[in-house]
Subunit: 349 residues, 2 copies
Amino acid sequence: MPSIAVLPGDGIGKEVINEGLKILNFMGEKYNLNLKFEEFEVGAERYLKSGELIPDSLLKQLETFDAIYLGAVGDPRVPSGILEHGILLKLRFHFDQYVNLRPIKLLNDRFSPLKKKGVNEINFTVIRENTEGLYAGIGGILKKDTQDEVAIQEMISTRKGVERIIRYAFEYAKNLKGKLTLCDKSNVLTYSHGLWLRVFEELKKEYPEVQTDHYYVDAITMKMVRNPEIFDVIVTCNMFGDIITDLGAELQGGMGLAASGNINPNSVSMFEPVHGSAPDIAGKGIANPIAAILAAAMMLEYFGRKDLAEKIEDSIKISIQENLLSQDMGGNLSTSEVGDEIVKILKRG
Amino acid sequence: MPSIAVLPGDGIGKEVINEGLKILNFMGEKYNLNLKFEEFEVGAERYLKSGELIPDSLLKQLETFDAIYLGAVGDPRVPSGILEHGILLKLRFHFDQYVNLRPIKLLNDRFSPLKKKGVNEINFTVIRENTEGLYAGIGGILKKDTQDEVAIQEMISTRKGVERIIRYAFEYAKNLKGKLTLCDKSNVLTYSHGLWLRVFEELKKEYPEVQTDHYYVDAITMKMVRNPEIFDVIVTCNMFGDIITDLGAELQGGMGLAASGNINPNSVSMFEPVHGSAPDIAGKGIANPIAAILAAAMMLEYFGRKDLAEKIEDSIKISIQENLLSQDMGGNLSTSEVGDEIVKILKRG
Ligand SMILES: CC(C)[C@H](C(=O)O)[C@@H](O)C(=O)O
Ligand SMILES: CC(C)[C@H](C(=O)O)[C@@H](O)C(=O)O
């Protein structure tokens, strides 16, 4: 009986979360999952009305749930950074969701942007540290708006923070019987990524059964395009994870297909599509709900129902084969029609 | 009569620089350029023999040249970071080469890794800040090797440093009659990249004729794969420039084709292939010299001979059409044969 706090957020966030809920409701009934949902308002509307981002009282409420299902935040009426910091990063940090799990899995060859790489080659997972590094939000500005201005942004890494994410990645790779790749820039970031590299070398010894390798972040972006098949699991810092998973989303066929989990195995985890609120297409009913539906599937897997997550993914694959898709993917269905079709396929299967 | 200090460095550095010099010598004679070369030893051999990276006496000598032509540094016998810091970054910082100019230009459709993008779409320039940001090398480690260890790496941006690179980029885009794109992560790196965004907005007013836009670094990597044609000139910080230009190199057809200039218009500038010393293939005479030859062409352009740089690029295009290439590009020529063939084409043209 998992309880899920639903935060649709802004723009297309609301539209795609509706479809995710449609799938979850269907699966919940069919498999007696006894899922409980409660919706909360966060995002631009609330902020503009009341100045509130996530008040402490709401955080307290969210603590009582098993998971959070988030749409997207962002609105042209609110200066960039405010909603991202006040809501998305706030939740990741408050619940210490130190694992940002981002599968890069191409579901159909025709969506690959690469000439030579298809579903057999583009299939790996990025495990991004999600609570520290350059995202610490620490730093300052000296002599602002003068010619002598200096701005400092701190990349802060703690052994605890680095060790737990690398350990999680080793465990993940071990379960998968896959290779673990460290992505860093330890040749230049000798302090912060020096720590990453040392911890990686240490943990290697604890996991002799896991094959490993190591690339600098610049080389990783090349390899992701040239030889994505060499990767099973990549572990990396917050900032580099942000960058390479967007590149990865494109290799999957675009943002409309990329889902992610923000996980703390001992607290409240949060599942969301990687895409933003897309104000340009919001309200038109044309957004692609697949990323949100895949995020819902990740949530079921997190609740121990990998079997059901796979059923959802398989149904999406069929909907892609049959071109039951939104416009961005070359189809002509509305957001809710895409959801309906996936439910139909799930009923059939 | 420009004087050029030649630093072949390690591994394939020596091999590819030879070919670049072959082209420069040919062009020098044909067009009476009166180029003067002097070679200096830097890299692993020197370091292992004497512990020296770049001694002050060598720096003093290099100051008397008009430009530096660098191969690559890096050797498996030397711990990662030492040669990069002690030579490559040392030169960039010592000569305050604040512009790292990296053209991303596909020379032949068949080298594009992308299904839908060819020479008409992949053609832009990344202007990377080259003297500060995360590359400052500043930071430290508290309680090293304990459970309480904290590592800090500073991303430091100065107004002077940010303003001069963004101004350079505006001038560059203006000459090109092109669009200038800012690539940052100002929604998260509010201090350091907040400064970047403010300076960008300020300089926009001085260049009303230059069209501009702005993407976060994660979105840039997607756009580079999905819509590279939207870019003319991208300006970005040191770290992000490192990452996106390697991705860019791959879009051009691989590291074997990517050249770069480290420029300080008022001091000694340095030209180099983007690739490293490639110890795995060093000494076999099979390295691809095109990146080094393109770096030589950039150097001629820097000396005011854009016409000759274009002749070299055109000859390389022909050598590609005729498949007069090294193995990595699908040909069967040795490093020096590739150079010879390009000279032959230059003679013909
Ligand atoms: C919106 C932004 C703050 C966020 C991030 O940088 O983490 C997003 O890009 C992501 O990857 O989830
Ligand atoms: C070798 C390394 C220090 C260097 C960098 O990070 O700048 C290289 O990757 C480059 O892009 O020139």
